[in-house]
């Protein structure tokens, strides 16, 4: 695919400088990306890459064909614009579409540098990568070759391989994506992990939900017995790899997996672990890329003036696509993280000014004056290439003197790349968030609770006589420093849990909604941060899927597989669950059983609710689904049997009492 074609070569050479400079700018801004190899591809190749999740080779499977077809149609409607694809690898590979405008290409490049930083520095990616990087392209190609060999084996055949892949894919999300890939990995040091968790400031509720005690215990006491599971086993793929069997139709009984089946299962499991971090950090990662793209393209004018309209259009499309938009939520949250950290830094200074307390803060501080004082010096905000002396006179920590000397020699194009003259500190001041027009009110909007909280941690030393003195000490990089720390340790669950505050929800108009049985449509339930958070956590926790674990591999002493659905108040899609059980039979070879809690609304209650214009009260009942190779049987269970599956401290329901 890299056969040089004239169009691509031209495009590639045109993009060499933007790519180099974007990386230089990214590093100045504090990003630390994997090296990125940029490839210029045509529209069709782009669609192929997207179908293959950003790689050139994947194992043969019909669903890539489906994705390709879908992508092809989609980009037809979007006017052929597939914007970016970058894969998580070291070096990362990013693909640029030859027909895109230069402005689009630059936007993609800046976006990609931020993703590459995230891949390289976020610890959830580290879970797979371990010490020496993900080696993804090589791994996926190896897998492709292996599957190809299975296909060509006359004793196996394409149909069998495909059917087996399909079956395994039904449970590809049922892995323990929260842990390092190899279960006895030395990479997951339990103590370090506990510390990390503590440092995240994650609420107890989430901590329990995300990092189950069982898990922590397991990590701490590596139990290398062969388990039949003493504790519920959440990595269904691993469990079935070790203990599963195939069902032999002719013999009418379970038979041991063929070698290729076991190998294929493990291969697909490895890919599931590889792709998991991208899904558990989707909001953070996309928001991160959108934030830095906007910083580089817009604020550092990486898009030339004449390209800016194109760029604005590009960004508007991405951020205004309808429905739940991880790019937008992520970018807004990162901006909030930045503003909050900057505000806290300023508050810690101002609350030490004599005469200023958290009680009188709003009355004594002149916010307009503070915002003015926080604005960057003129020579930093706008570089005049003919007045480099002004740059030289800026505080020393802001200026990259080597670059300044080069600029005086005209070795640096200051007009195009003014940022080259500054350090990380200088750029942090140059783009200081609280001085921007849209955030000038942010400081004043601080709540009394937050003020009180900040002041409680302040020692009564280092007092300032005046507001001016206090502001002189402000660390302008506080916001960015915080962002970098957060991007290392968080995933979407912890990110949302920590930063989605009422202030954020109000400022960005988020709301929770539920389906109204009585009305037969979706209705907003709440704009309360706790409710919005609940719904988001439901979406992010456990890859947004219900938690299913192996509870007993010898259920009823008949060798049946018992799965438990850990019910958190949201019921399973039973039709899907049935279909999945039918597939699982092929990996267990004997009957497969699922215990769950489901909701039932009686007709009488439904009518009563409709009459009183309220939502019906569902009844929670235990349910067993059992598939014996022929049909799925439903049996109601008494509450005692499923009680252990139901979490009593979790509630994802946001319906208010007086709703409709």
């Amino acid at each position: 695919m890299t056969r040089p074609e004239p169009g691509k070569q031209t495009a590639a050479s045109e993009l060499a400088e933007p790519a180099r400079e974007a990386n230089a700018l990214a590093r100045k801004l504090g990003l630390d990306p994997y090296d990125v190899q940029y490839w210029v591809v045509d529209h069709d190749e782009m669609n192929e890459l997207i179908a293959y999740d950003g790689f050139q080779t994947r194992y043969p499977h019909w669903r890539w064909g489906m994705k390709y077809e879908k992508q092809r149609k989609q980009t037809q409607f979007l006017g052929g614009k597939a914007f970016e694809i970058v894969n998580n690898d070291d070096p990362s590979n990013a693909f640029l579409q030859v027909s895109n405008e230069l402005a689009d290409q630059k936007a993609v490049i800046t976006h990609v540098e931020a993703h590459a930083d995230f891949f390289s520095n976020n610890r959830w990616f580290g879970l797979f990568a371990g010490g020496d990087g993900p080696n993804a392209a090589a791994m996926l190609e190896r897998h492709a070759n292996r599957v190809e060999e299975f296909l060509e084996d006359p004793d196996v055949g394409r149909e069998a391989v495909e059917r087996f892949v399909d079956t395994v894919l039904t449970i590809e999300d049922n892995i323990e994506y929260r842990r390092a890939f190899e279960r006895d990995s030395e990479g997951s040091d339990p103590e370090a992990l506990s510390e990390t968790l503590a440092s995240l400031g994650v609420s107890e509720e989430v901590r329990e939900e995300v990092f189950t005690e069982t898990w922590l215990d397991e990590v701490e006491a590596v139990d290398d017995d062969v388990r039949f599971p003493e504790e519920p086993e959440y990595d269904l793929l691993a469990f079935l790899r070790d203990h599963g069997q195939a069902y032999d139709d002719d013999a009418g009984k379970a038979v041991a997996f063929e070698d290729w089946q076991r190998e294929l299962l493990e291969l697909l499991r490895r890919e599931a672990y590889y792709f998991a971090p991208q899904r558990t950090t989707k909001v953070m990662n996309e928001g991160w890329a959108a934030y830095w793209e906007s910083m580089m393209m817009g604020e550092e004018a990486f898009a030339a003036a004449e390209e800016f309209l194109d760029y604005a259009d590009h960004q508007a499309r991405v951020l205004n696509s309808p429905g739940f938009n991880p790019y937008k939520l992520g970018k807004e949250l990162w901006e909030y993280v930045e503003n909050r950290a900057n505000r806290r830094e300023v508050l810690e200074r101002l609350l030490r000014v004599d005469g200023v307390t958290w009680r009188n803060f709003h009355d004594t501080v002149d916010f307009e004056a503070v915002a003015n004082a926080l604005e960057p010096p003129d020579a930093l905000a706008a570089v005049d290439p003919d007045d480099l002396d002004a740059v030289e006179s800026l505080p020393g920590e802001y200026v990259d003197f080597g670059a300044l000397a080069a600029a005086r020699e005209r070795d640096i194009d200051v007009e195009q790349y003014p940022w080259k003259l500054f350090t990380y500190e200088g750029l942090a001041r140059r783009h200081y968030s609280l001085a921007k027009p849209q955030y000038r009110g942010f400081l004043g909007r601080v709540t009394r609770d937050e003020l009180e909280g900040v002041s409680r941690y302040l020692f009564d030393t280092d007092r300032y006589a005046t507001v001016g003195d206090a502001l002189d000490d402000v660390e302008f990089s506080a916001g960015w420093d915080r962002m970098y720390a957060v991007r290392e340790s968080h995933n979407d669950v912890t990110f949302v849990d920590e930063f989605l505050t009422q202030e954020f929800v109000d400022a960005n108009d988020y709301f929770a909604y539920e389906f109204s049985q009585t009305r037969g449509d979706f209705r907003a339930t709440s704009t309360d941060a706790a409710d919005v958070k609940r719904k988001l956590l439901l979406r992010f926790t456990n890859l947004g899927k219900p938690t299913i674990a192996v509870y007993d591999a010898n259920h009823e002493n008949r060798g049946e597989l018992l799965l438990g659905h850990e019910y958190n108040g949201v019921m399973l899609d039973l039709e899907e669950a049935e279909a999945t059980l039918e597939r699982l039979f092929d990996l267990w070879g004997r009957p497969v059983v699922l215990h769950t809690v489901t909701k039932r609304v009686t007709d009488a209650e439904r009518k009563r609710a409709r009459r009183n214009d309220r939502e019906p009260e569902p009844e929670e009942v235990g349910l067993e689904l059992r598939y014996d190779g022929e049909e799925v049987e439903h049996t109601e269970l008494d509450w005692g049997t499923v009680e252990h599956l139901a979490a009593d401290d979790l509630d994802y329901d946001t319906k208010p009492d007086e709703w409709l």
Binding site: G65, G323, D509, A512, Y513, L572
Partner: protein
Amino acid sequence: MGLREDLERFREVGEQRRQDLAEFIQYGDLGGSGPDSVRVPIKLVDLPEFQYDKLDQGGVGQGEVEPGDQVGDPEEGDGDGDEAGEEGADHEYYEMDPEEFAQELDDRLGLDLDPKGKKVVEETEGAFNDTARRGPRGTLDFAHLYKQGLKRKIAMDFDEEYVTEALRVEGWGVDEVYEWAREQHVPVSRAWLKEQARTLAGDTDRWASIDELEAELDAEPTKTRIRRGGAGKVPLRRDDERFRHPKIVERRERNVVVVNIRDVSGSMREAKRELVERTFTPLDWYLTGKYDNAEFVYIAHDAEAWEVERGDFFGIRSGGGTRISTAYELAEEVLGDYPFSEWNRYVFAAGDGENSHDDTEENVIPLMREINANLHAYVETQPTDGVQTGTHAGKLRDAFGEGDGVAVTTVTEPGDVMDAIETILSTEEDTDDET
């Protein structure tokens, strides 16, 4: 290996997994399809998984709303869909052209409607199978010419050495040899023998008698000689020239015109309207697939009738009053442009069975008899919750019998649609069988 192959496999898998045709017609989304392509959802990727009940899960939206406000069906938006590892969950479609649809429906219903060609269109597309004695040099059938020449040559060929040897029989001259040769059907001429006799250098009594010669030597058969020495010069004659020209195929084009009639009066409510659409649309696809050239006429009527575009046909609602004969009058007028000698004609009407007093007997039935068509059909729609009031369908059933080419069917719920379609299409087949 590679994406091409994956794509091909997807198409194969899609074919296996597309929604069952009956289910699609009765309950599926017919809206995604166009006249040239029928889009049947693939239950695809129905790689199932453990997932939350969609309605029980709820979600998060963005915008200024108050609790209790309706928020519309939440849709997944995903910015610029790019990142690795994302799975879309939307529907894919298996696209089939109307021909395939018709074939599938035939298989499904056990039908085999063989459309009649009607209008004669002269076509020259036949192979160059006919020949004439004159024509452009370029169309000369040289194979024919050569073959004829070869035949002629073979007819004139004989073993010259053998015949010449006969001249060496003691006492034999040209006359004796000639007579002998003719008896043997050797196509030799007297002139040639004379010429040979003149050049014969002595040794004219090598053989004591012709019997001795025949016993000693065998004439070499023509086949062997040609195989050995080639055909030599083949005499080509103008008489044998043939010029190829295409066979003129008198092809009859299979044209069809379908008149869809719908009662749009006030009594036709939403549920009934949808039943009509579910019945008529697949019939349209089917006939499009069966015929070379299909045209559609849409007539809406209440107490009056008017022609509408297809896009409006199923959506129109009007005031009260129903007079079905107005639609047939209009149909008859429109069909004037489609003579039955050249066009297959189908007239499908649908309504809730209501009609104004005596209109059915006095006007509609005579009109239906008058309008020549392969098939007339009336689809009566009676949603389950309605009270049956109309009598139109019943009167039609009484008036027409088997073999009259009139199908009357009742559809009360989507589950009846396939039966209705089967009844309609098999009515034509039965009629065909009898004629």
